[in-house]
């Protein structure tokens, strides 16, 4: 649905994006992370057709944004960093305008508008002037605009900026609902939001794509923290011999409690094997916690490491 091929973008002599490549299919939600000035908005603008790449190309639903701009833009909904709204229009008038410029068939317009307004929770505000709305509702109006024409690809640049916590929760639910049959790329500074909503995360730093991380795979952890009542000398060897175990690292031992980090094969037999073993040895398991790399760790490793090199 979206494919960026070695996309670079220069502003004069400044290289804002350098050789960014990735592809996202239908039903995928991609989070775009990066520090301020990393190139997230530039990448969004390039993918939305507001900026053409200096090198490389972007395909939206199989259409090249530069060579077949109309076909590509028909398959695209874009919410820019500042919601592109007209304060003098009511929400409904604005969305009607958006539907018309996006080529929604007149016969379907009313139904489509009602659907979008309902989805984004704008029903009570639909006849209010956009200029009189709060920041959160303006943002929702901007999001509703991106949904006009039922595009296959949604690009959302910091869509939850201005949302209160309740609105942010509702938004995350909405994104998961919309993700069925669409490709969604959204940038955010909120790591927990990206972790909660996205299937994949791209970390951009100084215009380069440093990390393309599949959060679905990461969710199936192969590392566990295990706390066992017993001495390590007696426990370590039998645990290492379990067929599902790859590596065991001892963290520390306090008051007869042994703390271990166990790396296992990607199967689900480890917990069962461990319980059978330890119950036979009379060593109760006090804690068994799957360990996951947090997005924060990933982000800091990627961006911090890069800074360290330079």
């Amino acid at each position: 649905m979206v494919r960026a091929e070695a996309v670079s973008r220069k502003y004069g002599r400044f290289l804002a994006l350098s050789g960014v490549s990735f592809a996202a299919g239908s039903g995928e939600v991609i989070g775009l992370l990066g520090q301020n000035g990393a190139g997230k908005t530039t990448l969004m603008n390039v993918m939305a057709g507001c900026l053409a790449p200096s090198e490389g190309r972007v395909l939206i639903a199989g259409h090249d944004l530069v060579r077949s701009p109309f076909a590509a833009r028909r398959a695209l909904g874009y919410l820019s960093e500042v919601p592109p709204v007209y304060p003098e229009l009511t929400v409904r008038e604005y969305l009607q305008f958006c539907c018309r410029i996006k080529g929604v068939v007149r016969a379907d317009e009313k139904r489509h508008l009602d659907e979008i307004i309902g989805l984004t929770g704008l029903m009570p505000m639909q006849h209010r002037l956009i200029g009189q709305l709060s920041k959160g509702f303006r943002q929702r109006t901007g999001l509703a605009q991106a949904l006009c024409g039922d595009p296959e690809v949604l690009l959302l640049d910091e869509p939850t900026a201005g949302f209160d916590p309740a609105q942010a929760v509702a938004f995350r639910k909405l994104i998961r609902t919309l993700a069925k049959g669409k490709t969604i790329v959204f940038s955010s500074h909120l790591l927990h939001e990206v972790q909660e909503v996205c299937d994949r995360v791209l970390v951009i730093h100084r215009g380069r794509l440093l990390v393309d991380h599949d959060l679905r795979q990461a969710a199936q952890s192969n590392r566990y923290r295990v706390v066992i009542q017993g001495e390590p000398e007696r426990l370590l060897s039998p645990i290492r011999q379990l067929s599902s175990v790859c590596r065991v690292r001892q963290e520390n031992t306090t008051a007869g409690r042994t703390r271990l980090v166990v790396e296992t094969k990607p199967d689900e037999t480890f917990a069962k094997q461990l319980f059978h073993l330890l119950s036979a040895m009379g060593a109760p398991v006090l804690e068994l916690t799957p360990l996951r790399d947090t997005l924060e760790t990933l982000f800091l490793q990627a961006t911090g490491g890069e800074e360290g090199k330079e």
């Binding site: 603008n45 939305a48 057709g49 507001c50 900026l51 053409a52 701009p69 109309f70 076909a71 833009r73 028909r74 695209l76 874009y78 820019s80 500042v82 592109p84 709204v85 007209y86 304060p87 003098e88 229009l89 008038e93 305008f97 958006c98 018309r100 410029i101 996006k102 080529g103 605009q145």
Partner: protein
């Protein structure tokens, strides 16, 4: 194009711009009607229209200033750029909306010749020809101002630039009556002058050449606006 046209027309009347334009236009028209027709007890409508033709210089910048600059200021240009909408549709829709507001103002000002016809002898052809020329001249000024403001980012800069260009056009037309100017240059300026082309309409001379000139002028200005916007987008790209 229709979507842009309807949206722009709404925006004119949902913001003070359209009302301001019509109010100032009708106020100036009322004042000039009083000075040219009521005070001297004259039914010569051409004198009124002749004076009114200078009003475009002041008022078309009000209509045009936010057409393109407003999109950039409000960041709505991103919406238009990412939508399957051609630059030509965008420019034409906006231009026709501005012309419609002008048409509404001119239509309302027809009350003056109607009022005059109730108590004096009015030559309908002279009035109709004059109004046609006046409308064409207004359309030409809007097209010119739209062209010069098509890549401006600030609405006030756009208004100032449009007014400056209109003033220049007027000053150039004044030069056509200067005896010190070479005849060839005077003829050249007169050929392209939006004011000189209007004069025959006032005496009911409906010359196809003049009508065609105004139409071609408008189309050319729109074409230049479209090209400038495309070039600007390409440069941004």
């Amino acid at each position: 194009m229709r979507a842009v046209y309807h949206k722009e027309l709404r925006s004119y009347f949902y913001t003070p711009t359209g009302w301001l334009f019509i109010t100032v236009f009708l106020s100036l028209a009322g004042l000039l009607f009083y000075l040219n027709n009521i005070l001297p007890r004259s039914s010569d409508f051409s004198a009124f229209l002749s004076m009114m033709s200078y009003v475009w210089m002041l008022l078309t910048p009000i209509l045009v200033m936010r057409l393109m600059a407003g999109e950039r200021r409000g960041m709505t240009d991103k919406l238009l750029q990412s939508a399957p909408l051609s630059v030509a549709s965008l420019v034409t829709g906006k231009y026709l909306a501005a012309c419609t507001v002008m048409l509404i103002a001119v239509t309302l000002s027809l009350a003056y010749p109607l009022l005059m016809s109730a108590c004096a002898r009015v030559y309908p052809m002279e009035v109709l020809s004059g109004i046609l020329g006046f409308l064409l001249q207004g359309c030409a000024f809007i097209a010119l101002d739209l062209m010069v403001t098509s890549t401006v980012r600030n609405t006030f800069s756009a208004a100032a630039l449009a007014f400056g260009v209109n003033l220049f056009v007027w000053l150039m037309s004044l030069m056509t009556s200067s005896a010190a100017m070479p005849a060839a240059l005077t003829r050249g300026i007169a050929f392209f002058s939006l004011y000189e082309r209007f004069i025959p309409f006032l005496s009911a001379q409906l010359s196809p050449a003049n009508i065609l000139f105004y139409l071609m002028f408008c189309i050319s200005m729109l074409a230049v606006s479209i090209t400038m916007l495309k070039l600007e987008r390409a440069r941004e790209r």
